[in-house]
């Protein structure tokens, strides 16, 4: 069928902020979809609340709205834009749920707006557990014995009937939120209750566990003419039992015979046809490793994280094709953009092995429960491509940006056999390293299989690497061994470690012997057809396919996996850097390891190398491409950390030089610069021993801010108020403290703010100042922020601008930098300088219209700000007010304290913009899922120190008609001050109707404000209250500044009532 001509204007719904289970992949799919629709000549309207996305760039859609993804706000956009149709299947679960909600309001019928792609009843059939089960029965497809329940008793009854273990799967929740495996009544009671609570439909599926089966995923596509095909089949290293988002995954399938593969393929195609999916869909199947028996686990009737992975793994752009199918095109009418010669109706053939490993946030949340199960916990993932599974696995491990750079892990090495076996049985994020360690200790594949149920084939991949490890160790400097080692993905540093030499020496030997990587193309067709896709991976084989072009090129280093502190913002900046390079006529070459992002879409750059971001891997690409230089300013700390090593190898770092990058990060040099410029900064000292740290703190005076040097996202950063807390900190962070000096700073009270500046050596452009709403103790990434500043007068702004200019010039910044200030006693103190693009770049770029990463890139390549038409100093402030709000994923992670502090905890952000501060605040809160009723109830549990601060806030709640609930201490205090407060019982007091936890669990309150006991204890009252609020999806605030902002937003919507 040719494309539809009865529709002209299409609304695309994005996926909102990044949270666990819904990450950058939807920026990739949404961007692709918008571009595909434009390519077909449709006018596009895009709505997304997340500014840190490429999809919200003006050039992606015709009309871009950065507005909350709520029925209310999207309805407003619809009534303004009158689209003919909505494309809801590319914005993840958020987009899909919103489309369903919009359709229920009747608005779509009223305005004759069609939903494109898969029909809503199909979506419902795939997502409603009971309907799905009925469909499977009709089709004769097996599903694990299961029953939908709406009560905990129902769950228990069914579990008794089918026997434990069972899995609880709440209906309509993202990433399996609230689900889990239960082995007994006690576990089932807890998990089912929570799951029912989290499910918007109050439904849970109780399912017979098939843990231990092979987990196989198919990415399938279908068009309206019923053509259906498989894009990619992926096999999980971890058997059924661990969420696929938390599993190590290989593609293509590694252990399936053709009979098994075809049987499962038939099933996947049967399902997509039965569900009448128009577009892409993900089918998860479980195969008994000892028979032909399989079960259907689930179907995602939309583009998903797995489809982004499959797109990058095969080169086949699923989202783009899905968008074209949605407007009526058939697969055999769309060209395959990879080959350019064949059609999209083509099942890709791979001639390489892909390995994906999730990236978990446990380096940040050291106290979190790391156990893996049906609830996804990873924030991002890496992908690596090799010609053997061994090579792909090793490349993926070194892409992770964790302590382990290969299969050796110190904690695993130190574990006792008992601990090790426990780690193998109860999978956590680091199980792979324990598998490797077990083989080092002589465990057999049979032993490890018994403990892990991981397939022997996969175990042998690891076993092989451990054998090779030994072989390498036993043959120092042996060329044949080196050749073998490289073929199976061993890095130079790992070989060096085993040979007790340096990576440089290994590299030198390697080059001398001509053991160099070649680069092979990802072409969807295993070289059967001629392709010109500029998408490559390295391997140690014979023929190199990546040819240098004659054009002058620049290498841009991406930011690797999405993790807390380094999110999609850096991918945004990377993509913009590429655009600027291309517009200046350079060939832009991108290196990155993250399959979810736009930067790893091969159509974005001139050449894409899907590679680990380590010095060795980057140097190899540089050796081949001979770029004029490398840009490291946009790839976050990942790219910056490579700069010194690259420079040492004679590589030209474009922009701020390595020496000057160091000046910003080296405490001593930086202090001198500050002194010379006569700027202010909090008193700070550096110490390398525990006693030194304690002495320094004493000298500065408590409270102090402590952190290791060279950190990102405030890792291991804390405010300590006394020596006891400091000692505790040192004990907790002993391992970090051993490697890095510790920085101790005076902790100043005041308003924090930050600026991003672009400097060409002469002029310094400040696109804007962002004022933080929370006090300085909250990490800037977790703070709400407003542009333009609301509480700074011209003098303060002048101080900020002047300090920024001085610093940029003194630090010889060429390109972009970020500075954080604290305004203390009406004076601007410099807190921190990052000589690179920060996470506020997309935010300020969207607000000011200055494409900051592009301007900075041009500066880096020698085009001055003046030549680009920008003036020195602060860019004129806009009249619209923009508020950025962080978004957290606490409900996915057990045992993480949600109390905000100097260590970053948020996973994403939203933006709210309007004509007044209050309205912008309201939108930001709404976008961050804090849409509160006009008259609600707020539960207050406040630390004694904060009581004076809460009083005016409580009064303001009362004034706009909110009910106040509080525990005794807080309640008494507020009552004394004339407020009407209902007292609730403390934790441990009688578990009646008025107990604090009961009140939260019963949804009797709309908001919880808690500032209590932010210590380490998991069993502290404050922690339990916060956890309970999060588990029950009750909005929670832990910083009183945020409460003030929220009140401002609420007050704006209400009328105050005062008696005469």
């Amino acid at each position: 069928m040719p494309k539809r001509t009865d529709i002209h204007k299409i609304l695309v719904i994005g996926s909102g902020p990044i949270i666990i289970g819904q990450a950058a992949e939807f920026d990739y799919s949404g961007t692709q979809a918008c571009l595909a629709l434009r390519e077909e000549g449709y006018e596009t309207v895009l709505v997304n609340s997340n500014p840190a996305t490429i999809m919200t760039d003006n050039e992606i859609a015709d009309h871009v709205y950065i507005e909350p993804l709520t029925v209310e706000s999207v309805s407003r956009i619809i009534r303004k834009e009158y689209p003919d149709a909505i494309l809801p299947t590319l914005g993840g679960q958020i987009g899909l749920n919103l489309a369903v909600a919009l359709s229920k309001t009747g608005l779509l019928d009223e305005l004759h707006i069609q939903l494109l792609g898969t029909k809503l009843d199909s979506i419902d059939e795939a997502e409603d557990r009971e309907k799905f089960k009925e469909l499977m029965q009709r089709l004769g497809e097996p599903v694990p014995a299961s029953q939908t329940v709406e009560t905990v008793d129902g769950a228990l009854d069914f579990a008794h009937k089918i026997g434990y273990p069972v899995i609880v799967r709440p209906a309509f929740t993202m990433g399996g939120t609230g689900g889990g495996m239960c082995h007994n009544d006690e576990e089932l009671k807890a998990i089912a209750a929570n799951g029912l609570d989290l499910s918007p439909a109050t439904q849970c599926l109780i399912e017979k566990s098939i843990a231990g089966y092979k987990e196989i995923e198919f990415e399938v596509m279908r068009d309206a003419s019923d053509n259906a095909m498989v894009v990619c089949c992926m096999e999980n290293f971890d058997p059924v039992g661990i969420h696929t988002g938390d599993s190590i995954v290989f593609a293509p399938s590694q252990t399936l015979s053709d009979r098994e593969y075809q049987m499962l393929r038939d099933c996947a195609l049967k399902l997509i046809r039965a569900l009448k999916i128009e577009g892409g869909c993900n089918v998860q199947l479980a195969l008994d490793p000892n028979s032909y028996h399989y079960d259907v686990i689930e179907v995602n009737p939309r583009v998903s994280r797995s489809s982004a992975l499959a797109s990058k793994a095969t080169g086949y752009p699923i989202a783009k094709m899905a968008a074209k199918i949605a407007v009526g095109l058939n697969l055999d009418e769309i060209k395959n953009p990879v080959t350019g010669t064949t059609y999209a109706e083509f099942e890709p053939a791979l001639d390489y092995v892909v390995c994906k490993i999730p990236r978990w946030p446990f380096d940040k949340f050291t106290r979190a429960d790391r156990r893996l199960g049906s609830q996804m916990k990873a924030t991002g993932e890496v992908m690596a491509i090799g010609r053997t599974a061994e090579e792909a696995l090793q490349k993926a491990v070194r892409s992770l940006e964790i302590d382990q750079k290969d299969l050796f892990s110190a904690p695993a090495h130190q574990a006792t056999d008992i601990q090790l076996e426990d780690k193998l049985v109860h999978a956590e994020d680091d199980r792979l390293f324990y598998v490797a360690e077990a083989f080092r200790r002589g465990y057999t594949i049979e032993d490890v299989h018994e403990l892990t149920k991981i397939n022997d084939y996969f175990l042998d991949v690891v076993h092989h690497l451990i054998e090779l490890e030994k072989q390498i160790e036993d043959h120092p400097e042996d060329v044949a061994t080196l050749r073998t080692a490289k073929k199976y993905g061993f890095s130079d540093p790992t070989i060096a470690k085993l040979w007790k030499t340096t990576p440089e020496k290994v590299r030198a030997l390697r080059k001398q012997e001509g053991i160099l990587p070649v680069y092979k193309m990802v072409d969807t067709c295993a070289a059967e057809f001629d392709s010109s896709t500029p998408y490559f991976y390295s391997t140690y084989d014979r023929e190199n396919e990546s040819q240098r072009t004659g054009k002058e090129s620049v290498l841009v280093i991406g930011s690797g996996p999405i993790r807390i502190g380094q999110g999609v913002e850096f991918d945004y900046a990377t993509v913009h850097c590429v655009k600027a390079l291309q517009s200046m006529g350079y060939e832009a070459i991108v290196m990155n390891s993250n399959p979810e992002t736009v930067s790893t879409d091969f159509s974005v750059s001139d050449k894409l190398y899907f590679e680990p971001l380590t010095l060795e891997d980057v140097m190899n690409v540089i050796d081949l491409e001979q770029p004029m230089g490398v840009i490291v300013q946009f790839g976050g700390q990942t790219a910056i950390n490579l700069a010194a090593g690259l420079a040492k190898n004679g590589v030209q770092i474009l922009g701020t030089s390595v020496k000057d990058l160091d000046a910003a990060e080296d405490r001593r040099i930086f202090d001198e610069i500050i002194k010379k410029l006569e700027l202010k900064q909090p008193v700070g000292l550096t110490a390398t021993t525990h006693q030194g740290v304690i002495d320094a703190a004493e000298k500065i005076g408590y409270p102090v801010l402590v952190r290791p040097s060279y950190v990102l996202g405030g890792k291991a950063m804390e405010i300590v108020y006394n020596e006891g807390e400091l000692r505790e900190y040192l004990k907790e962070n002993a391992d970090v403290a051993a490697d890095h000096p510790i920085l101790i700073d005076a902790y100043l009270e005041g308003r924090e703010c930050e600026v991003d500046a672009i400097c060409d050596g002469t002029d310094v452009l400040l696109p804007g100042i962002m004022e933080h709403i929370e006090h300085a103790g909250v990490h800037s990434g977790d703070s709400m922020a407003v542009y333009p500043p609301q509480s700074f007068d011209d003098d303060i702004k002048h101080q900020i601008v002047s300090a920024t200019k001085k610093l940029a010039i003194a630090l010889k910044c060429q390109g972009i930098m970020n500075i954080q200030f604290i305004i203390h006693d009406h004076e601007a103190y410099v807190l921190e300088v990052n000589p690179r693009a920060s996470r506020t770049v997309p935010f300020l770029s969207k607000i000011t219209g200055i494409e900051m990463a592009q301007v900075a890139t041009r500066v880096i390549l020698g085009k001055s700000l003046a030549e680009q038409g920008y003036k020195d100093g602060l860019y004129p402030e806009s009249k619209t007010i923009h508020v950025k709000a962080p978004v957290f994923s606490f409900n996915k992670l057990d045992d993480v304290d949600s109390y905000l502090g100097p260590e970053m905890k948020s996973t994403g952000e939203v933006m709210g913009s309007d004509q007044t501060f209050a309205k912008a605040l309201y939108k930001a809160f709404a976008g961050a899922k804090m849409q509160l009723p006009d008259n609600g109830s707020v539960l207050l549990t406040i630390e004694d120190n904060d009581k004076q601060t809460i009083l005016p806030l409580a009064k303001r709640f009362a004034l706009i008609g909110w009910r106040l609930l509080a525990t005794k201490g807080t309640a008494d205090f507020l009552k004394e001050n004339g407020l009407h407060v209902e007292t609730v019982g403390k934790i441990g007091e009688e578990d009646g109707e008025h107990n604090i936890l009961r009140v939260i669990k019963d949804n009797k309150v709309d908001l919880v404000i808690n500032t209590m006991g932010h210590d380490y204890a998991k069993n502290s009252d404050g922690f339990i209250i916060r956890q309970t609020a999060i588990e029950h999806n009750v909005p929670l605030l832990t910083a009183l500044d945020t409460v003030g902002a929220l009140l401002r937003a609420l007050e704006n919507r209400s009328f105050s009532t005062t008696a005469l």
């Binding site: 252990t255 038939d266 059609y343 042998d460 076993h463």
Partner: protein, 363 residues
């Protein structure tokens, strides 16, 4: 580890590691893009006298088992791959691939840059080559390779020498064996057919004497134009019996009706080839293994109709006779290895047979 070499007729040499049988061999080097099904491919007689390159970087990963044979005596000359799995694992596994190849006297080489090799075959077209343990006498070897005709008269080597039955009930079907895959017999057995397999030399009279209900022309290796006798047989039999041709059978059917065939540059081998049913627009992914194809221009002047085409390169994938109940497909609806998308073609054949049977009974 023993070194072993693949030498191509253009003089290029690829060094790798030996596995399978310890012997030298010579054949036509072709590649398949299927990501599973190495056992089916290796035992497929259509690969007779060919050296098969697997583009999937790993084979041998689930071993070998008795269920998945496509012929009892594989005629393939050698196997080239990037990596053979060290530790295959599958509940059905009865042997490892290297052992199996060793017993069948088929040599293999792993550690080859198969992608480089495939790119060469794509650019130059199919090449002849040899697997050898050393390249000391390269010039002589090249001479030998160039003088070879690996697939000449190949069907005479793989086709059965004498008729044999595959007993069943209900329908009587004659199958002409040009190098038949077991999967075709499996499909017929599943559909209640009593099958008699005849050698490719069967004459029309011999076929018609069996009073069968239908005839199926099997797949097979080599150049269809060598099948003049079979084509003459088909030209007569199609007038009397419902006919279904697969792969070589399709080409013989085309030749029997006056169309022509040609040798493709590097053929279709794999199972991601989309094929469009021209009448319905439906597309199936098909399993394919052919180095020759029917020339579309030669069809206009015949009584044949093109029913199927390859979506990407337009290759003739299916034909139907305008007057007789006879049709053929270039691909393998019997799959094995490959997708089952097109297996309903066997049902079409059976209903054609049944219709003819009922007409005969009613007449």
């Amino acid at each position: 580890m023993m070194e072993r070499y693949l030498v191509l007729e253009d003089g290029s040499v690829y060094a790798g590691e030996a596995f399978g049988a310890d012997r030298s061999t010579l054949g036509e080097v072709v590649f398949t893009t299927g990501m599973t099904g190495y056992q089916e491919a290796i035992t497929d007689q259509s690969y007779a006298n060919q050296i098969l390159v697997f583009t999937n970087p790993l084979i041998g990963n689930y071993g070998v088992n008795l269920d998945d044979y496509e012929s009892l005596e594989p005629q393939i000359k050698g196997v080239i791959c990037h990596q053979v799995a060290r530790r295959p694992s599958n509940w059905r596994m009865q042997d490892t691939l290297p052992n199996f190849l060793d017993q069948r006297e088929i040599p293999g080489i792993q550690g080859i840059d198969t992608r480089e090799l495939v790119r060469k075959l794509r650019q130059h077209g199919t090449l002849r080559g040899a697997i050898v343990d050393n390249v000391d006498e390269l010039a002589d070897l090249l001479k030998k390779i160039k003088a070879s005709h690996p697939t000449a008269n190949i069907i005479s080597q793989v086709s059965t020498k004498s008729p044999y039955p595959n007993p069943g009930t209900k329908r009587n079907i004659v199958v002409i064996d040009f190098g038949i895959k077991h999967s075709i017999l499996r499909e017929l057995a599943e559909r209640e057919c009593n099958v008699i397999v005849l050698p490719y030399t069967a004459t029309a009279q011999q076929v018609l004497n069996l009073k069968a209900d239908g005839i199926l022309l099997s797949n097979g290796p080599g150049d269809p134009e060598e099948m003049e006798g079979a084509a003459a047989m088909v030209a007569e039999v199609e007038k009397h019996l419902p006919l279904f041709g697969i792969c070589m059978g399709h080409q013989v059917f085309a030749l029997a009706n006056g169309a022509k065939t040609y040798k493709m540059k590097f053929g279709h081998r794999g199972f991601n080839h989309p094929v469009r049913n021209i009448a319905t627009g439906e597309i199936d992914f098909t399993s394919q293994n052919h180095g020759y194809a029917v020339d579309p221009q030669s069809i206009d002047s015949t009584k044949l109709l093109v029913t199927h085409e390859e979506v990407n390169d337009g290759t003739v994938e299916g034909l139907r006779h305008k007057q007789y109940p006879a049709f053929s497909v270039q691909f393998h609806p019997d799959a094995a290895p490959g997708p089952h998308d097109a297996d309903s073609l066997f049902d079409d054949f059976i209903s054609m047979v049944d219709q003819q049977r009922s007409e005969r009974t009613n007449a």
